[in-house]
Amino acid sequence: MIISSIIFVYFITFLAIFVQVFFLVTFLERKREIIRREEKIELGVYPSVTIVVPCWNEENTIQRTVLSLLDLDYPKEKLQLFLIDDGSTDNTLKVLKEFETYSNIKVFHKENGGKHTAVNLGLENNTNDFFGCLDADSFVHPEALKRIITYFDNPEVMAVAPSIIIHKPKNFVQYAQKAEYEMAVYIKKMLGFLDAIHVTPGPFSIFRKTVFDKIGNYRKAHNTEDMEIAYRMQSHRYKIEQCNDAYVYTVAPDTIKKLFKQRVRWIYGFINNTLDYKRLILRPKYGNFALFTIPSGVISISAALYLFTDNVGNIFNKGIEKFTQVSVTGLDFGFNLSHLNWFYMNTETSAILIFILFGLLIISMILGSQMANGRVRFSLNIFYFIAIYSVVAPFWLLKAVYNTVFSKTPSWR
């Protein structure tokens, strides 16, 4: 390996470990502040909230989404629901109309213009102090809104993001995502502590209305409007918090193909929003968001691509070796037990560093699981996650980079 390549490997590995240690140190510093409320709570004041549900061809899931909002433990007169049909071609509008009998529900219909246009229609009609959105493939825990609202007791808090949990995973693709989303609960909470959250997810992030009054409505933003609004808020140094015990359940993509498509869109959004806001990067006046969040995203992409190319190289070399062996001695299905000896374990520095990195990732997942489920629970999901993401993630990263270079915006579905 040439020296510049070795230096790059160590540099990227150093930064990747730095990111994980940074999260861990933040956790140890602030763990007393992490609360997880099991019981019902009552608020002194219930502020008025508007929730928008943008829908495009969601006839199968929309009913459950709206019913979960109606089940929220929040005074009905303080909760306004806007169900917005964004030009669906299926029976979504018909399903929505069935809810018009509820006094706090308004149904809108518009021509298809993309999710951000639907949410903006809701914003234009909103008069309440708090505003949120719920994607039509998600549904909320009855206590979620109250728990989120408690964070607004701090007048500096301008938006609060929830914890997103995978609803009833059924196959290993969804189990892998469950582990990932649980890890995200931990990471988002730490980013919240650092005032460095880079996305206010479509499912049930709640904002003060003044945010939009001051910095404007949603933008198309490479089909990741929930990321762009967070970037814009960070550029104005608005505080975004993460409410770890406000659970929103979402249905995860159930095939690799669907997952791939979703992630290409997310990573493409990250790359392009970062390019749009590149003036913030590494500028201390924009806080940890500029010094830590964005660089760590770039590092994660680089590290994943490096690990992938390294693995592909190793697998290719092993394949060539095996092919040579088979070509001269024929197939041999025997297994050389003597190579199970510790002597043959890779003990090079780079291997030990990757082991440390994986160890830190597993700690993140365990802490995330504890924050999401209230207890540490060992599950095979971590292994599903490592198995699927280490193989497939580099491809969506590459595809997102390719789309960026050739200006191809990924579609929603």
């Binding site: 240690v21 140190v25 806080g287 001695t329 003990t347 560093l353 440390i356």
Partner: protein
């Protein structure tokens, strides 16, 4: 507000993890070398022991001399040295010196086994195999697989492998005795040098005794069962 102290603290923790990884890698590398050395010492003692036994042969019957004692250890040693050459960074000189020592042990084993074959009528077949890892030698890699497969098929087929370019006078002596040219891989069996890649079939054809070896082993296995 940016907490610079935290950035510095995390930098030093990460640095400490890096240093620990370097230290651990070095420590385990040294442990592996010690492991190889201990096997080598054992092999050296075994050879000395068998030489002593052999000197007493006139007073002992051939049955009392174990003829399989070294093949396994030498095989393990070879595997570990080869792995160490490729994977234990920072200890090249030590691995090289272990490799020289290993080559000497191989020659001693060969001399001893040859004597035993003459006196006790052992059926073993010996092959000297010369390879090179100085320049990329694809045929050497293939030849290695062929010889490993043959050794698995015929346990009494004893292969002594030598790095042609290793700076060791005993190897150079073998090279000059058999007039082995620098066209690798090269093998010497029945006093004849074979240059270039030899397939399993080529070797079996040139060494008809291998078949007898197989039959003898099969008979022995049947008797045992």
């Amino acid at each position: 507000m940016i907490d610079w102290k935290k950035y510095i603290l995390v930098f030093f923790i990460t640095l400490a993890l890096f240093m620990s990884a370097f230290y651990l890698s070095n420590f385990l590398g040294n442990k592996k070398i010690e492991d190889v050395k201990s096997i080598q010492d054992k092999v050296a003692i075994d050879i000395l022991s068998s030489e002593t036994k052999f000197a007493l042969l006139e007073e002992l019957s051939c049955k009392d001399v174990d003829n399989t004692f070294l093949s396994q250890e030498l095989g393990e040693l070879a595997g570990k040295i080869e792995y160490g050459e490729q994977n234990i960074s920072g200890s090249k000189n030590e691995i090289l010196s272990l490799k020289r020592y290993y080559s000497l042990l191989e020659i001693k084993d060969y001399l001893l086994m040859k004597k035993m074959r003459e006196r006790c009528g052992l059926k073993s077949i010996f092959v000297f195999y010369f390879y090179s890892d100085k320049d990329r030698c694809e045929d050497c890699e293939k030849q290695g697989y062929v010889l490993t497969a043959l050794r698995e098929k015929y346990p009494d087929f004893r292969i002594y492998s030598f790095d042609y370019n290793l700076d060791l006078s005993a190897i150079q002596a073998l090279v000059s005795i058999y007039k082995v040219k620098n066209e690798l891989p090269a093998m010497v069996f029945n006093g004849k040098v074979y240059n270039g890649f030899q397939s399993v079939e080529d070797i079996e054809k040139n060494l008809p005794d291998l078949e007898k070896l197989k039959k003898t082993e099969d008979n022995a296995n049947q008797e045992n069962s």
